[in-house]
Subunit: 265 residues, 2 copies
């Protein structure tokens, strides 16, 4: 007060550096190019290595930079737009909203009594058997998401009885049976929600990322004949994925980085 | 190797503490309750204050905890489910997907030539005038999102000519005129994408959060008669919002925390 100082904005040092770095990157480098190493960058911007590393971590989390062992830090490719509304059984490689190279890989299929929380979410009695198919969603061979698809036994009663199947080809077959039955029911992903989450240890391992990696958690309820028949919880890598929704065909969601439009407006 | 030690998982200390804290919180406290202070917690869990603070920061970012000056750290309320597909002009307080207490507040309305990036996203020539309406989306008085709605002049040619309007009631009127014209055109939000972003300085100020706060960036293309008439870029607070999509009415997206289902499954 009365000292002629401008109002101080409570902006952390690393955050200011992140914004400066982002501007530099956008102006001087393009996708796939290696940026100068930490020593050079900290000299150029006159900052401590710790601050620089914090800013680089932030930009990696935002999907702007990628660190590759033995190569250095590269400008990341734009996020891949992934349509969330794909048929429950298939890869969604054709039809509207198709993504070339999109595939599923089954991890396992476990049948177990529903916990109180899962039962409430599925609208079934606690303890009813639920089949859970875990899958990975890949785009051109790169892991983009994990999915746990929970299907109450009562929704797919005609499943061939193969109790206590663990691992191997038999488990893959069982997963396929569950998915095929859901398709036959005409299961339709009717309502979805998206929220920010973090990859817990097991999910992180499946995504081949460290625990705590930010993910977009998509919850989808599948209904057939007005009855809830499945619940899918998917975790998408927030650094590499952009989720697309809504009617397709007419107007395509422009593959422009939202940030680019935001800063340009 | 040969030392009998278990395989070390590269899990940062604060991350382990975060998971332990989360389990404790879920078991011992409910929404709105104040948890013990930092001194007590660091003693109880035998960790350094810095590590504890990092874990608390993480849980605040995840929307599990809220810090209130003069009160302490509280268990946060569950995230608010917000339907993303609402009419362009209205608050979406009635009809399917309605949220009680959902309102919009206009911040400003600026008309300026489109940058190259914005022009490309809107499919118009660079330099064409674009009206940008900035709004806040509130639920029960709490700011949930900012929105920048970009409308090319050519899409709303019948706007009353009021050049160089800045601030005040005239600007609010102009924003209303733009929204009304879009409604008259029957503008329909046809395709959307969602990705993780961070609030830049200006957005952060509007959201009343520090810069760098994680946000869910929703990009919506509005079309009328198969022509793109508007582009909206919204930033939702990732700590307090859960976005809902898709057909409404038939099955309601269960307001169960995805994390809860994930950990329960």
């Amino acid at each position: 007060m009365g000292q002629g100082q401008p109002t101080a904005v409570p902006e952390p040092k690393y955050w200011h550096l992140r914004t400066v770095l982002l501007r530099t990157i956008d102006a001087e480098f393009s996708t796939g190019q290696v940026i100068p190493n930490e020593r050079e960058l900290s000299a150029r911007f006159g900052v401590a290595r710790a601050t620089l590393r914090q800013a680089l971590d932030q930009l990696e989390m935002e999907g702007r930079l990628v660190r590759r062992r033995g190569i250095g830090t590269l400008i990341a490719a734009p996020r891949v737009g992934i349509p969330v509304a794909t048929p429950v059984g298939g890869p969604g490689e054709s039809g509207p909203g198709a993504v070339s190279g999109l595939t599923w890989r089954t991890v396992d299929c476990v049948s177990a009594p529903a916990s109180a929380r899962l039962a409430a979410a599925l609208g079934i009695p606690e303890g009813e058997t639920v089949h859970t198919v875990r899958r990975l969603r890949l785009v051109q061979g790169q892991i983009m998401a994990t999915e746990s698809l929970h299907v109450p036994e009562s929704a797919v009663p005609h499943l061939p009885a193969v109790p206590h199947v663990v691992g191997g080809a038999a488990e893959q077959d069982r997963a396929k049976s569950v998915l095929r039955q859901l398709e036959r029911l005409g299961a339709d992903g009717q309502s979805r929600s998206v929220e920010l989450g973090v990859a817990e240890a097991e999910e992180a391992a499946l995504l081949e990322r460290p625990p705590g990696t930010p993910v977009l958690v998509v919850t989808t309820q599948y209904a057939a004949a007005d009855r809830l028949v499945a619940l899918a919880v998917s975790t998408y890598r927030a650094d590499t994925c952009r989720l697309t929704f809504g009617e397709t065909g007419k107007v395509e969601v422009t593959p422009v980085r939202a940030g680019a439009v935001r800063s340009a407006s």
